[in-house]
Structures are given as structure tokens and as C-alpha cells.
Amino acid sequence: MRRSGLVLVLLVPLSLAVGLWAGPVTLSPRELWDGLVHPYAESAAIVRDLRVPRVLLAFLVGGSLSVVGASLQALLRNPLADPYLLGLSGGAGLGAVIAIALNPNWPWAVPAAAFAGAAGAVALVYRLSVVAGRRLDPRVLLLAGVIVGSFAGAIMTTVVSLSDAAELRRAFLWLLGGFGGASWSALLIFCAYAAAPLLVLLLSSRALDLLALGEESAKHLGADVERNKRVVYIATSLLTAASVAVCGIVGFVGLVVPHAVRRLWTPMHRELLPAVFFLGGALLVLTDGLTRTIARTLELPVGAVTAIVGVPLFALLLRRNYT
């Protein structure tokens, strides 16, 4: 357990350093340092305007998605839950694809449409769970999430089919996620949206420990179950919608990182949530670095790389823990 903590403490600065170094333009450690500390250095534009906001954004998004994944897994008592399970990815994707198809001039059109789509999907899933008479019942939420996600996916496919080739490629790449559009303003907007839900989830750690036992036991141990479920659902939805708006749909991190930390370190949410935040952040920064260095002239979608790198690692982890 202590060794895992040490690895985590070392991994975060290491990932940030690698993230700053990785990119189509190779910078020496000296150039990197100069770019960081001297505003007028030759490398300052690349380091300060492109890489620092990109690395920080990837770190915060990776951390947030991992916290969301861990929280939803406890809320739904489902180890397969990830941030996009409850129809959010479908809604966000639909919003973004419509914005891409309409091709407006406003630079924030796609993120704003993705956020609106995600929020719409969340509202619809919540509404469906209320109509079913079981407010935020995990089983109804899952069903409603699948239904809303499928519906949004069907409309999205229709819109994409009717679009021309260039728009189709752009929409496809956007759906797989990436930090190509990272900027200081995107970072600030994300921070503004993410701070409150992250804090709320961290403060809900003990409630999540109890929810993970099941509603009946949670009530007997003093949890205000309905209130806790509502708070966690809203906070995770906002956080995921914010991350989708700034970088598209980055899969796998939110599913796997909580599992890895539970197995290697602790299942208690007071330690689990900070740990998954740092590990998820570090992993996404490293993965994003890979997307920029594998094919120098092109940038691979980060969502695809997280899965390509993450699946074998996760398989190893499962093998180690079950054999």
C-alpha cells in the first residue's frame, strides 16, 4: 500500500514533465525549462501557450473522469459504471455532431453544444427515472441511460450520414476525444465548472462508502440516501459534461483507474477519490503525450490510445489479482 502511494507521488510530476516534453517539436530539457520560466525565450510560445494548458487540462480531465467513474460505480453499485454510462456520451456526441454539421462561426459552438447535449441527456435520464416512479433507483437509471444513449446515438448516426466527408471525419475524431483544442481559456472554463462538483464528490466520500453497501444498509448506518444519491448524480453529471465539452469523449480512464486503485490501494472513498484523481490525471497526460509522438505529423484521438494502452495493463492487473 505504501509502495503504491510512493508510485503515485512520483508518477504525477513525472507525467507532467513527460507531457510538457512530448510533441511534434522536440525540445531539449533546457529549452523546456527556459520556455517555462522566461516569458521571452524562443520556446516560450510552444511551452506556455500550447503545452502547459494542454497538460494541465489533460490532467484535470483525467482526474475528474476517474473521480466520476469511482463515484458512479459506488452510486450504481456496478463495477462496470463509467462516466458515460448514463446516456451522457450520446447526448454530448449528438450536440457536438449537430454543431459540426451546422458549422457556425463561433469557436465555442462545439463545446457549448456538447455541454448542452450532455445536460439534456442527464435531464432526460433523470426525468425517465422519476416517471418510472423510482427516483434515482440504480436499475432504472441504468435502463434510462441506455435508452437515452441509444436514442441519441441513432440520431447522431443519421446526422453524420447526411453530412459531407470532411464534417464526418471531424465529427468522428471529436467523438474519440482529444486535447488539440486545449487553451488557457478552455482550462479556465473547465476549472470554473469542475471545482464545485469535485469538491462536492470529495465531501461525499463517506456517503459513497455507505451507498456502495446498498441503500438499505446505508440507511441503517445513518446515510440520507435520497439526498446523497441526488448530490452524487448531479455532481458527476456536471463534471462529465464539462470534460466532454473541452475534450470530447475520452473513454476507459473513468472505468479502469478506480478499479486499479481499489485493487492496488484502498476501496475507501476518502483515500480512493484523491488517489484516482492523481492517477487518472497522470495517465491521461501520459496518453495524450503518446498521441502527439506516435505519429509526429498527425495527432491520434486520445480516447483510442487510452483504450489501446489501458486494456493490456488492465488485463495484467486482473491476472495478478485473480490468479
Binding site: Q73, R77, P79, H220, G222, A223
Partner: protein, 269 residues
């Protein structure tokens, strides 16, 4: 601290008959009350009703003279420990981590786990004789060990009242005896105990008082010897039984086979 139910009635939406109808009982310190009855007789509904977890059609449940519905769940969990009928483990914790959850009603969202919490957890582990299992993951435990862990978690809440809903379901003879012996010891130390059970013979030997439910109503209420009578049980369970007496005076129920007739007098010890 007393837990009293007076004329409780519960009706689930759309159900033709009430799940509970006019049930009254009292759970007192140093006494173990057992609630028995056939499947679907309203035993678990009764637990939920007296803990304020289902809306009442009629009647009141009071804890220390204050209606349970007016208690905040966190405050209630500081004085009432409950071992629910079922609990499926999805994310396995260690035994110590599980028992430590019993301290949560006493902790705020930011408060660190302190010396008193660790002490209470350790005492609960020792009390339930599971200290050697402290670092085991709960998904590696046997059914009997897991039930003890859940009782220990309820004890870590440092409750004044202990409620157990079918705590010995699917346990073997040794484990069900160990669990009832443990509960009896806790009650002897001053806890008020309420146990819901299908084990008529264990209820007869360990409980001070038995409430027999059928179709949501109290059929009999009193000392085991007054409640566990052949004609009452045969009628309530719709199956012929014989009742004999064990050496400690407690009635023991023997279900009869088809075609078997009860002996005129109970068999020798």
C-alpha cells in the same frame, strides 16, 4: 432507551390488504424480543415501520417517546444498530474497514477517524470474536463469519438497541447457535434486542418474549411458552406441528410429516 410501536398499519401502494395491521410491541433494555411468523407475514415490514423507513397508514413508532420519523437518520443510527436481512458485497472491504463503517454516524464528512473510533471498532471485533479476521477481505469469509462482521459493525455504532432481521438465515447449527449466544450476551449487558427469525426453537430458547405475526396481524404475544402452542402454530403455518418441552422449560416445535399424528404427550428428553 425503549422502542415502542403502537397500532402500526402499513399498506403498500396497490396492495389489496395491509402488510401490517394494528401491530404493537415494545423493545426494552436487557430484554430480547423475537418476532416470528410465516413468509410474507409482515416481519421485515415491521422492522422498516418501526425504523421509520416506510410510511405508516396508522399508528406510531416511538424511540424514547419521540416519533422515529422525527429522528434524523444520522441520530437514529447512533442509538439503533440494524443487521438487515440481505447485504450483497459488490466492492469488498476488509473486516476492519467494514466494521469501521459503524462509526460513520458519529463522524462528520471531514472528521478524521480518531482514537475513540478505532477503540470502538476493536471492541466490536473482540466482542464478536472476529479479531483474528481483521485484515481478511469480506468476500473470503464464510456465511457465519460474515454475519458476525455485520453484527460487529452494528456494535461499532455503540447502539442502545440492536435489531437483527433473520440473522441466521442459511447458517449451520454451530453458527446460528453462536450468533444467538452472542446476541443473548449483548442483551444481558443491557442492550435492547429485537430479532426477526424463522427459527422458532431458537426464539423459544433465547427470547424473553415472542410476537407471532400472520398476514400482518399479531396472532399471539407473550412468553415463548404462551405463544408457541400447537394449535396456534398449526393454524398460522398451515402445517401440523407437535410442541414438546426442553429441559430448560422452553417449548420446542417439531413439524410433523404427512400422515403423522402428534404424540399424546411430548417425547422424553
Amino acid at each position: 432507551m425503549n422502542l415502542t410501536a403502537n397500532d402500526l398499519a402499513v399498506r403498500y401502494p396497490g396492495a389489496p390488504a395491509p402488510a401490517l395491521d394494528g401491530v404493537s410491541l415494545q423493545v426494552e433494555p436487557g430484554r430480547l424480543l423475537a418476532v416470528v411468523g410465516p413468509n410474507g407475514s409482515g416481519k421485515t415490514t415491521l422492522v422498516n415501520a418501526i425504523l421509520g423507513l416506510v410510511p405508516l397508514e396508522r399508528g406510531t413508532a416511538r424511540l424514547d417517546e419521540k416519533p422515529v420519523t422525527e429522528w434524523r437518520r444520522g441520530s437514529l443510527a447512533k442509538v439503533v444498530g440494524v443487521v438487515a436481512q440481505r447485504e450483497e458485497v459488490v466492492f469488498p472491504l476488509t473486516v476492519t474497514q467494514t466494521v469501521m463503517l459503524g462509526r460513520y454516524p458519529h463522524l462528520g464528512p471531514l472528521a478524521p477517524i480518531g482514537f475513540h473510533d478505532r477503540e470502538a471498532t476493536l471492541r466490536a471485533l473482540r466482542r464478536c470474536d472476529i479479531e483474528p479476521l481483521a485484515e481478511r477481505r469480506v468476500d473470503t469469509l464464510s456465511g457465519g463469519e460474515w454475519q458476525r462482521v455485520r453484527v460487529a459493525r452494528a456494535l461499532a455504532q455503540q447502539p442502545r438497541i440492536l435489531v437483527l432481521d433473520e440473522p441466521t438465515a442459511s447458517l449451520d447449527v454451530r453458527h446460528e447457535m453462536e450468533l444467538f449466544e452472542l446476541v443473548r450476551t449483548l442483551v444481558a449487558d443491557g442492550l435492547a434486542g429485537l430479532v426477526i427469525t424463522h427459527e422458532l426453537n431458537l426464539a423459544a430458547r433465547f427470547a424473553d418474549r415472542i410476537v407471532l405475526l400472520n398476514r400482518g396481524k399479531v396472532v399471539a404475544d407473550g412468553a415463548p411458552v404462551e405463544v408457541l402452542r400447537r394449535e396456534i402454530l398449526t393454524d398460522v403455518f398451515a402445517w401440523p406441528v407437535a410442541v414438546t418441552t426442553w429441559s430448560d422449560g422452553s417449548p420446542q416445535v417439531i413439524p410433523l410429516r404427512v400422515g403423522e399424528t402428534p404424540p399424546a404427550q411430548g417425547p422424553a428428553r
